[in-house]
């Protein structure tokens, strides 16, 4: 990942956030992400994010679990170590089904949690900049990426007119990195409040 420059607009209400997101997409600004204190319904559609593929991943993990359980048990009880349990056949399918089910659920659940954490860049001891401390409390934070074509002043005045309560420029790391909150100052570097 890399350090990029952003113009950050902070909103204190969903009602101003939604038109701001819509208008900045219309104006062609590149929204890096929107950080909100709680899940906001419909924001993904407003931002034009594509549907997640997490379910497809979950389906594949589930199939992995199913085939692992079925093939391993079948191999053990027919080839490797056949046992006579209560006079049942060596391939007692009904008795396998609970275990097949458990392994299917286990693989898909654990796999999806790990995939979700990877996709949203969450892990223990890993840090990610969310541009404004109050994004975890009561502020909706929308950073707009600055490219060669971006006119800084134009973006700032756009955000102000869209109802932002706070607008500032910030250079920030876009990816995740290993660090600790108390010793790592990266988060607070080069930040300058323009208006209030």
């Amino acid at each position: 990942m890399s350090v990029k420059k952003f113009v950050v607009g902070c909103f204190d209400d969903e009602k101003t956030l939604f038109p701001a997101v819509k208008n900045s997409r219309k104006a062609g600004y590149k929204i890096h992400d929107v950080y909100t204190p709680f899940p906001v319904h419909g924001l993904d559609h407003a931002m034009g994010l594509r549907e997640t593929s997490l379910h497809t991943a979950g389906f594949i993990y589930a199939l992995t679990g199913t085939t692992t359980a079925l093939s391993f048990m079948s191999w053990v009880f027919t080839k490797d170590w056949p046992m006579n349990i209560g006079g049942k056949p060596h391939l007692p399918l009904p008795a396998f089904i609970p275990i097949i089910f458990e392994l299917t659920v286990l693989c898909s659940a654990v796999g999806m949690v790990l995939t979700f954490c990877y996709l949203s860049q969450l892990a223990p001891f890993v840090k990610k900049d969310h541009f404004h401390l109050r994004a975890t409390d009561d502020l909706f934070v929308m950073p707009i990426e600055v490219t060669e074509k971006t006119n800084l002043e134009e973006v700032k005045s756009f955000l102000q007119s869209a109802g932002a309560v706070e607008v500032f420029e910030k250079e920030a790391e876009t990816g995740w990195w290993v660090g600790r909150y108390d010793s790592d100052k990266k988060m607070f570097e080069k930040e300058e409040i323009v208006t209030a």
Partner: protein, 426 residues
């Protein structure tokens, strides 16, 4: 935008319901002529012919119990969502309300059929326990006779159906009164919570426990399973949700229910998907425990259905078809989000599920009385006959649901949670 709140019955629906009811009546007449329902049972005829009366009553009982439980489960849907204070079904709640109106017709019909069998018919292949001479020789039935006897059967059935109807009609009355009430009057809302809670308790003590034991499980009177009532409930409940979904989509296609969106259809689709799996869970729990412990008095039920190997198992096809239609098909068809939002796909699956659970009831009921016929027990003719009776019940449901829909506005517009339903987003 003015909403189309008043339903008018389209000619097509009327024609279809008359045609289906006609098929039902015709089948019933054929049955009365050819199956001799009121003759002496055993005695003069032998083999398959001696079972004519049994088949006549079985087809009626199968269909009346199944369809009554299906329409009752749409009031269960209302009660459960109301008690959970769920707002999302409000945009289409008048549809399950109208479907549950069929309880007023199917309830008495089912009771009449059951009581006619228990009290009037001389046949006792379906309920062995109503043959008093036989019960004296059979110590298991004698032991159970405190529960399985015509008087208790009648009293419990009457009480159960009577209570359902009472709660349903009370709820409906208040729901209609709310349409006329003032905007801020929420007294109905709090009352509806109480009615729902009381109904759910009644439902739990009847459909979820005692009634299926009596109506259906007592066909195989020596056998018992503690999963049985849950299993019956799961079957009728998932079919009931499918029926609600069919009517909602029908009304949408006719241009009504403008406030119902893909989101609501998606949620109903999720219900069909989830409860199909719930049904499978119960089916499997019942099957596996019996298979695993392998006790003769318990495996009897599945031996009658899968058949002992030397007899080829007359119900084998129905048995596995049941699993394919009710588990594999909904699982694979409804797994994706897109398919739960596609009207064509959910309609197809809903019809499949309703047929599948009708088939489930068929294989719960038929093998018990007919098992002595061996390979002749599961005949195509009887299957078609039972379908014909079923068509009559479908016709009744179409006709009376449409009628109940016309009686009120399609939107309970004064309910405090309507807005929550309109902006519903999954």
């Amino acid at each position: 935008m003015a909403l189309k709140e008043q339903f008018e019955i389209p000619g097509g629906l009327k024609k279809w319901s008359y045609a289906l009811m006609g098929i039902g009546v015709l089948t019933l007449l054929l049955g009365i002529v050819f199956l001799h329902p009121f003759s002496g049972g055993h005695g003069e005829a032998h083999g398959a012919e001696a079972y004519g009366g049994t088949k006549f009553w079985m087809a009626l009982m199968h269909n009346s119990i199944f369809w009554l439980l299906v329409v009752t489960s749409s009031f269960f849907f209302i009660a459960a969502t109301t008690l959970a204070q769920g707002g999302w079904p409000l945009a289409f709640r008048r549809v399950p309300e109208a479907i549950s109106g069929n309880m007023n017709i199917l309830g008495p019909v089912a009771l009449a059929i059951l009581f006619a069998y228990v009290w009037i018919s001389k046949d006792h292949n379906i309920y062995h326990w109503k043959d008093t001479a036989h019960v004296q020789e059979d110590h298991i039935l004698k032991h159970k006779s405190g529960f399985l006897n015509p008087v208790f059967y009648t009293v419990l059935s009457l009480a159960a159906v009577g209570l359902w109807l009472w709660f349903r009609n009370w709820f409906r009355k208040l729901s209609l009164a709310e349409d006329l009430a003032g905007k801020g009057d929420h007294s109905f809302y709090w009352k509806s919570l109480g009615i729902s809670a009381a109904f759910l308790v009644t439902y739990g003590l009847t459909v979820l426990s005692t009634l299926p034991w009596m109506w259906l499980m007592s066909i195989d009177a020596h056998w018992y399973s503690t999963m049985y009532s849950w299993y019956t409930f799961a079957s009728s409940w998932v079919a009931g949700i499918s029926l609600i979904l069919l009517f909602v989509i029908y009304l949408k296609n006719q241009g009504y229910l403008e406030l119902v969106s893909e989101e609501h259809i998606h949620d109903l689709g999720k219900f069909m998907f989830a409860f199909s799996i719930f049904w499978t869970y119960l089916w499997f729990s019942q099957f596996m425990l019996i298979w695993y412990s392998n006790q003769p008095e318990e495996t009897k039920y599945f031996v009658d259905r899968l058949g002992p190997a030397w007899e080829g198992g007359p119900f084998k096809v129905t048995f596995f078809l049941n699993l394919i239609i009710n588990f594999l098909a909904p699982l694979l068809i409804l797994m994706r989000k897109g398919s739960k939002r596609n009207y064509g796909v959910v309609v197809f699956t809903a019809i499949l599920i309703i047929f599948g659970h009708w088939l489930d009831f068929y294989q719960m009921i038929t093998p018990g009385p007919l098992k002595e016929l061996g390979s002749e027990a599961n005949t195509f003719t009887y299957f078609i006959y039972s379908m014909g009776i079923g068509a009559g019940f479908v016709g009744l449901i179409l006709f009376f649901t449409a009628k109940y829909l016309t009686k009120a506005s399609l939107l309970a517009k004064n309910h405090p949670l309507v807005k929550e339903s309109v902006i519903h987003h999954t």
